[in-house]
Subunit: 229 residues, 2 copies
């Protein structure tokens, strides 16, 4: 048998379908913070039962997207200014480590991948969802080279939980232009294998984002309650 291509069309489970649909809705704002999510209703809408929906919600709960209180259901989590600031601080700590490990390991393919995402970004134009995804691919193409699976997992979690807010950052044309410029500067530093400069440019990138994001976020609400003991 020949080596079959990258990832074959596996029969998608209902869980996977529901999960990616809920993620999309959380990202594009069709489901808002504070909204309750009713497994039965979602299931009916998507043509599945409540069971796989509940499993999807457990996963989203683990990622911090929704909160659950026993017998009271699921609610979309809110991130206030403190939450966003904290998440960006953690990202700063972990991404610096990822970059340090990644830069020396980058091979030709990785560099090509990075350059191509920059090109894609230019082509994406004003499609904000697309831009958010490409932006993410750019940064993770770098992180992945570090070959630190646990670190990567945590970074994915952190990006996931703030994707929704990052999308709003890209709504203004001014910010879209700026992001492209910053990516180019980061890319130059990467090509020079200048670790410290990459870290610095990425810090500036993050700093501008978080400063703007803070304007969008809810002033300060009490932190979402823990769950499931």
């Amino acid at each position: 048998m020949v080596a079959l291509m990258g990832s074959f069309e596996r029969p998608m489970t209902a869980l996977q379908a529901v999960l990616s649909e809920l993620r999309r809705r959380l990202l594009d704002g069709r489901i808002q913070p504070g909204d309750p999510i009713r497994p039965d209703a979602v299931g009916e809408e998507l043509g599945v039962s409540a069971v796989p929906v509940r499993e999807a919600l457990r996963i989203l709960e683990g990622e911090g997207h929704v909160t659950n209180r026993p017998h009271r259901g699921y609610v979309v989590a809110e991130l206030d200014i403190d939450d966003l600031t904290e998440i960006y601080r953690i990202r700063e700590l972990l991404e610096e480590e990822a970059v340090r490990r990644a830069i020396p390991k980058l091979d030709a393919d990785d560099l090509a991948e990075l350059r191509s995402t920059i090109a894609e970004m230019a082509k994406a134009g004003d499609d904000v969802v697309e831009l958010t995804e490409v932006n993410r691919r750019f940064h993770f193409a770098l992180f992945e080279a570090a070959e630190l699976p646990h670190l990567l997992r945590i970074l994915r979690m952190l990006w996931d939980s703030s994707d929704r807010y990052r999308l709003r950052y890209l709504i203004t044309p001014e910010n879209r232009r700026l992001v492209q410029e910053q990516h180019r500067r980061i890319m130059e530093a990467i090509e020079d294998r200048d670790v410290e400069r990459v870290i610095k440019e990425k810090s500036l990138h993050r700093a501008h984002a978080i400063d703007t994001l803070i304007g969008f976020a809810d002033p300060v609400s009490e932190s979402a309650a823990e769950a499931v003991g």
Copy 2:
């Protein structure tokens, strides 16, 4: 109505019961890395159906304790030397931040809590499971003072995923003695509000643990596959 005590005896859901039972078994080694976990079998054993077991497994999957491949079931994840090293490195980065933020905020109650865990530890004697739990309470009593919920969540995840191995570290009387000594030294630095010294002592504490743990771990297996896409 009077304010009712800390946390009232809520009617535990089957999910919660299964989840804590599975956690216990993962911790004390009754379920070993590589073992498959069959929802139906576990459910029958615990007197519940497969449904809540599967939800519990989704949560454990999110925490990295088990892996799942669609239609192929759940398997307890293995941590090799690389995994443990990586996890301890991430802990180092994040715990340093937690300590920096926590120390200035510690109040009298927090200090009392910390001291009491040290006393408990002395009393625990040779009960390794108990010691593991108290050890954990000591460190998290400190981290919690930082009031960084997301950071705390990640740290809990990291500790969870390596609890199993940490327990084996405490099996030798020599290590048990050492841990007590190290806690005392950390405590002294805390009482002096000497941030840098706390960080340094905690680093030594971790370093000794990871050096020993590496002896227990599997040499190197390929990393566990991702899941659920």
